[in-house]
Subunit: 237 residues, 2 copies
């Protein structure tokens, strides 16, 4: 299995998919992949055509072609025939609903377990988890279920942030994740800060990027993991 | 129908249920209510006993007794016999799951439509809406459905905030609500800032509190409504 699970597409003041560009290029090197099937269903206020064009403009720069599943008559067949898959960010609930409705949730799972490269950012990282339960997104639509692909046995919280907006009386991100682990003891949560990714390759899971990640599990003190670390313990269910 | 839908319990640096205390007192005045059934199910990292005690300490100060539904053998009967109901904040998904599981979602709806006073803050305001789709909370558990009581025909976004944490690449609150209205055209969303409430009484809906609220609807420019304004248009489906 070969995964690149990216916290976020864009850092403030930088280009779209700017910071992870080199990581994506490294990830795809020597795979023989030329064309990548793109899943745009997290997009809500952008058209799928525009979303596809935006992502393609980035991937073209290092020699890959993006083609979006929304053009396909038979989306499951498109998944079965794909050389690699990329799932873009946006609203996780919208993404999960459409992946379930079209049947590609299970189809992609099967292909990735069979070895084709999978990349996802933000919502696209959430759907690689057992469920969507650690998304930050608003539940704007109701999916059939919260179950996702379970390519990894732990939960990612993308865009993990330490800051709390001034004057805000709601929960901090850490408090939200503490609620999650209280309601779901036994499950690890990886708080992936902006400009960090988890890469799984050759049986190794590694944190890459610019910042440490924060690991939560019920009954333990949260701990920080430095970029470059192997974190295979997260893959042990 | 008599509703007090409060954005948030606590402003930074102020006491628990400090800012809305006078509004709660005004709301209950002349109702004849003495005892208020409390729904603590949004609490996840607090015990229901502790949550009850914390809320009771506030309500006692102006002469009301809080008793929590988690002590009741027959929760639906407790709802049927209640003089008034207060639903506390916390995690909306946990609250909705427990309200559905115990059957009190429908029971409370019936009692409130029959006229008993209903107060809710944060998650407790969300469940008065048609669905939970405009909560800010993490979906830490999966309810049977996103459907809520529909005491009002529009959606509240509690803790509405304009600020965006520094260095955060995720969506702003306004972007999240824009995604909601794109996916749910025709539904109004009321962005209730901290220290504001919506009060429905004698057939009138009014914004009370310290700040304007921001109203969203697909295809229109968001607009600001000043505290003290009647906003009956939101009740027209």
């Amino acid at each position: 299995m070969k995964l690149l699970l990216i916290s976020n597409s864009t850092n403030p003041g930088e280009e779209y998919l700017g910071w992870p560009r080199q990581d994506i290029s490294n990830f795809l090197k020597d795979t023989g992949v030329k064309r990548i099937l793109f899943i745009p269903y997290a997009g809500v206020t952008v058209t799928y055509n525009d979303y596809e064009a935006k992502v393609n403009a980035v991937f073209q720069q290092f020699g890959y072609e993006i083609y979006s599943i929304h053009h396909e008559q038979d989306p499951i067949r498109a998944v079965v025939e794909a050389e690699a898959i990329a799932v873009g960010g946006g609203n996780t609930f919208h993404l999960v609903r459409e992946m379930q409705r079209t049947g590609i949730m299970q189809a992609i799972r099967g292909r990735v377990l069979a070895g084709i490269p999978y990349m996802g950012w933000s919502a696209g990282s959430n759907v690689a988890c057992p469920t969507l339960r650690t998304t930050n997104d608003m539940p704007i639509v109701e999916p059939d279920s919260f179950n996702c692909m379970g390519l990894i046995p732990f939960q990612i919280n993308p865009h993990y942030l330490d800051a709390h907006p001034a004057g805000h009386g709601g929960e901090t991100r850490e408090q939200r994740i503490e609620e999650f682990i209280a309601a779901n003891p036994g499950v690890y949560v990886a708080g992936l800060r902006e400009a960090t990714s988890l890469q799984y390759d050759n049986g190794n899971l590694k944190l890459i990027g610019r910042h440490p990640m924060r690991i939560f599990r019920y009954g333990t003190t949260p701990r920080e993991i430095q970029p470059g670390s192997e974190v295979g313990f997260l893959m042990l269910d």
